[in-house]
C-alpha cells in the first residue's frame, strides 16, 4: 500500500522553478533516500510533503489523504520531520521537548506523555539527559532528541532533511545508528542525505534528483554500482573521490 503519493509536483521560488514535475510513490515501511547536488530541489521536495513549503501545482497524498492547507495540522501529525539544524526548543528540557507534541497537539495527559517520552529517550539512548536543556547536549545528542520528539507523535512517515549535515564527523554515527534502528522497525522514512554509505546500507530505494526532476531511481546497487545517466555518474564521481 502506498503511504505517500506525489503527482506532478511543481514548485517555484519566484521565477525559479525548483521542482519541475515530480512523481513519486513511497510504500509503507519503505526507506527512500533522496540524493543530489545542493540546489537540486531535494530538500524542497521534502518540505512540500508536510507543507512547510506550499506547492504551486500537483497533488500529494499521505496515507490516502490529500495534503491541503485546511487539514494541514492533522496531516502534519502523521508526518514527522527531523531538521538539519535540530530545532529543539531551547526553553524546554529534553523530556519536555519530547512531551510537547503529545501534550499540546494530541492533548495527551501529562503522565502518559511522560512515560511515552521516557520510552522514546531510552530508545535513542538519552534517558540520562532527560532533565538537561538542549544547550547542554552535543549536536548528535540534540539530533537524537529531535528524532525522539518526532516519534512522540507516532507519525506514519518520518522525513529527514539532511539530519547529519550539521554534525561533527564523529557524531554522525550515533544519529545514523538510531535511524538504522527505525528502518529495521519497518518505519516509512524519506531521507535527504549526503551519507552515501548509509544510503547504500539502509535504503530500499535511492532517488537521484537533478534540476528539479527525478533523474534516476532504483535499488542502492543500481544507483551506486550501475549508474545509467551521465549526470548521476558525474555526481557520484564528485562525492565518492
Amino acid at each position: 500500500m502506498s503511504m505517500i503519493e506525489i503527482k506532478n509536483l511543481h514548485k517555484y521560488f519566484g521565477e525559479l522553478e525548483v521542482l519541475r514535475g515530480i512523481d513519486l510513490t513511497v510504500d509503507e515501511s519503505e526507506v527512500v533516500c533522496l540524493i543530489g547536488s545542493s540546489g537540486s530541489g531535494k530538500s524542497t521536495l521534502l518540505r512540500c510533503i508536510n507543507f512547510l513549503e506550499e506547492k504551486n501545482e500537483g497533488e500529494i497524498y499521505i496515507d490516502g489523504q490529500l495534503v491541503a492547507s485546511k487539514d494541514i495540522n492533522e496531516i502534519r501529525q502523521k508526518v514527522g520531520m527531523v531538521f538539519q539544524r535540530f530545532n529543539l526548543f531551547p526553553h524546554m528540557t529534553v523530556i519536555q521537548n519530547v512531551m510537547e507534541g503529545p501534550i499540546t497537539v494530541k492533548k495527551m495527559d501529562k503522565k502518559k506523555a511522560h512515560s511515552l517520552a521516557m520510552d522514546l529517550l531510552d530508545k535513542v539512548n538519552l534517558l540520562d539527559k532527560a532533565d538537561e536543556y538542549p544547550a547542554m547536549l552535543s549536536g548528535g545528542q540534540q539530533q537524537r532528541v529531535a528524532i525522539a520528539r518526532s516519534l512522540a507523535m507516532e507519525p506514519k512517515v518520518i522525513l529527514f532533511d539532511e539530519p547529519t549535515s550539521a554534525l561533527d564527523p564523529e557524531l554522525v554515527g550515533e544519529v545514523l545508528g538510531v535511524m538504522k534502528d527505525l528502518a529495521k522497525e519497518g518505519r516509512t522514512m524519506i531521507i535527504v542525505t549526503h551519507e552515501m554509505g548509509f544510503a547504500k546500507e539502509v535504503a530500499d530505494r535511492v532517488i537521484f534528483i537533478s534540476e528539479g526532476l527525478i533523474a534516476e531511481e532504483g535499488s542502492p546497487e543500481d544507483i551506486f554500482d550501475r549508474p545509467e545517466s551521465e549526470r548521476l555518474q558525474n555526481f557520484l564521481g564528485q562525492i565518492l573521490v
Binding site: R76, V79, N87, F89, P90, H91, E100, T104
Partner: protein, 229 residues
C-alpha cells in the same frame, strides 16, 4: 572659617528640610507607583496584542496597528495627555484625571513595548516555528508554546529600559491635575520658596523607584537566563 560654618549650617538646614518633607511626599510617590504600575501592566498587554496582530496575515490589521504606533511615537506624550483629558470632553467623552493619565501612559508605553516584542519575536529562528508546526501545532499554539516564551526572555533588557521610562514619564501626569510626586514637589516649592531640598527629595524618590525596578529586572533576567546558551 566663616565660610565653612555657613556651608555647614546651610547643609543642616538643607537636610532638615529634606527630612521634614520626605514623609509629605508619600501620597505623591504612591500615585507615581500606581501610575507606573498600571501603565506598565496595561502597556505590556497592549504591546503583546499589537505585536501579535502585526504578525498575522491580515494586511489591514497590520496597517491599523502601524497607524497607532506612528501616532503614539510621533507625538509628544504631553500632547497625548492633554488630548485625552482636555480634548476628548469637547467630543462628549469625559474621563477622570487618573484614568485619563493611565490610558495615555498605557497607550504610550504599549506602542513602544509592541515594537520591543515584535523585534524579539522576529529574532527567534524561523526553524523554531517550523519545528512546532511540523509537530502539528496550529500557528497560535506554536506562537504561545514555542515563540513567545523565548521572545519574552529576549525582550527583558529592553523592557526594563521601557519600564524606567514609564516611571519617569508618569511625572507628566502632573499636568492633568494628578498630585503625584512631581506636582507635589512644585506645590511644596511654591509654598516654601525652598525649592532645592524639595526637588532633591523628589529626585531621591524617583531614584529609589527606578533602582528598585532595575534590581527586580536583573533578578528576573538571571532567573530566565539559567538554561540558555
Amino acid at each position: 572659617m566663616d565660610a565653612i560654618i555657613i556651608l555647614f549650617n546651610n547643609s543642616i538646614e538643607f537636610f532638615k528640610t529634606v527630612v521634614e518633607f520626605a514623609p509629605k511626599f508619600i501620597p505623591g510617590v504612591i500615585l507615581t507607583l500606581q501610575l507606573a504600575f498600571f501603565s506598565i501592566i496595561l502597556g505590556m498587554i497592549i504591546g503583546l496584542v499589537v505585536a501579535v496582530l502585526k504578525l498575522t496575515k491580515y494586511k489591514w490589521l497590520k496597517k491599523v496597528m502601524n497607524v497607532y504606533i506612528t501616532i503614539v511615537r510621533g507625538t509628544p506624550l504631553l500632547l497625548q495627555l492633554y488630548f485625552i483629558f482636555y480634548g476628548l470632553p469637547s467630543m462628549g467623552i469625559m474621563i477622570d484625571s487618573f484614568p485619563s493619565a493611565v490610558i495615555a501612559l498605557a497607550l504610550h508605553n504599549g506602542a513602544y513595548i509592541s515594537e520591543i516584542f515584535r523585534g524579539s519575536i522576529e529574532s527567534i529562528d524561523y526553524g523554531q516555528r517550523e519545528a512546532a508546526r511540523s509537530l502539528g501545532m496550529t500557528k497560535w499554539q506554536a506562537m504561545k508554546r514555542v515563540v513567545l516564551p523565548q521572545a519574552f526572555k529576549r525582550s527583558v533588557p529592553a523592557l526594563g529600559n521601557q519600564f524606567i521610562i514609564a516611571v519617569k514619564d508618569s511625572s507628566l501626569a502632573s499636568v492633568i491635575t494628578i498630585t503625584e510626586t512631581m506636582l507635589l514637589a512644585r506645590q511644596f516649592g511654591a509654598a516654601t520658596f525652598n525649592v532645592f531640598p524639595i526637588y532633591f527629595t523628589a529626585g531621591i524618590y524617583y531614584l529609589i523607584i527606578t533602582m528598585g525596578l532595575t534590581k527586580i529586572l536583573s533578578i528576573v533576567e538571571q532567573r530566565l537566563k539559567v538554561n540558555e546558551r
